[in-house]
């Protein structure tokens, strides 16, 4: 990346606002592609999927940023999945309890 140019000693590695925004747009496009292909973990997949978008991101953003964004996305997806799983569990538990109580009630009447 042009940023790591060590010839400019004065303002090395200053990312301006416009550059940041370009990087973000490319990142969002890449992540949209990944979402469409239902890829959560990039490391395990082969690099042919969403390769164009990935190359854009790599050219417009710093490497540390790319890694950071990908890691953060993965973490967020994991957390969301865990949340959904937990809420589903809670619902199932509630449902089971309720149906058990309904069964009891039904049995009471049957016995009578």
């Amino acid at each position: 990346m042009a940023k790591l140019d060590s010839s400019e000693q004065e303002d090395t590695q200053v990312v301006t606002r416009s550059e940041r925004e370009k990087c973000w747009i490319a990142r969002d496009k890449y992540f949209a592609c990944l979402d469409k292909n239902r890829i959560t973990s990039v490391a395990n997949q082969d690099s042919s999927v969403c390769a164009n978008e990935r190359s854009d991101v790599d050219s417009l953003c710093r490497q540390s940023w790319v890694d950071y964004f990908i890691q953060r996305r993965e973490r967020t997806l994991q957390i969301d999945a865990m949340k959904r799983y937990r809420t589903q569990q809670a619902h199932d538990e509630l449902e089971a309890r309720e149906s058990a109580s309904r069964e009891e009630l039904r049995n009471k009447f049957v016995k009578r």
Partner: protein, 342 residues
């Protein structure tokens, strides 16, 4: 044949009077006692009647019977009045002046719809009631506010802040003394932050603008947690991107920055042995620190505050702020009963 002389007339007047009283007693209507003059007048009137009898019984002895009864006369008069429209039906009996003075006829009084209350009294009562309710509400509010204040008073100040020595983006020295004189909002970050620091700095711009619009003098300070890569020229260029007037960007040697972060209880992950060419992300705590004109810590604002919420909260804290020497134990001030507008 009776001899009509004065004596007889007087006798007849007497009889007239007696019969009048008897008649009134029988009819239930009392007329005033006729004066002797009237009786005499009536008696003389009847004198004429005496000489022209009408064939009525006792017409000579009791001239009273000869005359049309007063009730009859009245009835005829009333009927005439009704027909002509001079008198309303069901009107009370027409009394003579004397009668009306002596015998007050019970007129149906128009009832006051409020009973024995009066409007002025009711208004005063309502006003007093409103004042009382307002007072009670104000007292409750004051008690709640006082309780809240007491709760929010921590045991001593939070141990945030302290001496530091850093360099600003123009190369000048900046210490904790430079915080004095005005309020400051401090943010710790680094220039090569992917998205969080730019977002927070934009938020800071809005907060500063809001507060300055309210006339609050506040300075913005950005302290770098990445001193190795963030040199003063780098900071200067970076901060140009943000619309914050008079923002101060601070950096320094690694140990100075480390000391400052420790004083402000800021976590940051930059290891000391990286070089300027290394590419890494600094993990750091994301907070705004509000410092007062004495350089003391006031409050911290995390990511759950958005720009509007933070500016409101800061404005509130600044308005409530008093210098240390003027500070005293918050005592409960009872609101005044009469000053309902306070």
């Amino acid at each position: 044949m009776l001899v009509t002389n004065k004596a007889t007339i007087v006798q007849m007047a007497g009889i007239w009077r007696q019969s009048a009283t008897l008649c009134s007693q029988l009819s239930g209507r009392s007329f005033s006692r006729m004066s002797t003059k009237d009786s005499l007048r009536n008696a003389s009137r009847s004198r004429r009647v005496l000489f022209c009898p009408h064939g009525r019984p006792f017409s000579t002895t009791l001239p009273k019977f000869n005359e049309r009864k007063p009730e009859e006369k009245k009835v005829e008069e009333d009927l005439d009045a009704l027909v002509t429209g001079k008198k309303r039906p069901m009107a009370g009996p027409e009394l003579t002046e004397e009668e009306s003075v002596v015998f007050k006829v019970a007129k149906p009084k128009r009832r006051n719809p409020l009973g024995f209350f009066n409007v002025a009294g009711m208004l005063i009562f309502a006003g007093g009631l409103a004042l009382l309710i307002n007072y009670k509400r104000r007292v409750q509010r004051a008690v709640e506010a006082h309780k809240e204040e007491k709760e929010s008073e921590s045991f001593g100040k939070a141990l945030i802040g302290g001496p530091f020595q850093l360099i600003d983006q123009n190369g000048g020295i900046f210490t904790q003394e430079n915080l004095k004189g005005k309020f400051s909002l401090i943010y710790f970050g680094f220039t090569l932050c992917p998205d969080i620091c730019p977002e927070e700095l934009d938020k800071m711009a809005i907060i500063i603008k809001n507060l300055r619009k309210q006339g609050i003098d506040i300075q913005a300070i950005f302290i770098s947690c990445d001193p190795i890569r963030d040199t003063p020229p780098v900071l200067k260029k970076y901060l140009e991107d943000f619309d914050i007037e008079g923002i101060v960007g601070l950096t320094g040697s690694y140990s100075d920055v480390e000391a400052c972060c420790k004083a402000y209880r800021v976590y940051f992950s930059t290891p000391p042995d990286v070089t300027a060419e290394d590419d890494y992300i600094v993990d750091h705590s994301i907070f705004f620190y509000l410092m007062d004109p004495e350089g003391e810590f006031v409050n911290v604002f995390g990511r759950r505050y958005d720009a509007q919420g933070a500016s409101e909260e800061i404005a509130k804290k600044i308005k409530k702020w008093v210098p240390a020497k003027d500070r005293r134990e918050s005592s409960f001030q009872k609101p005044s009963f009469w000053k309902f507008w306070e």
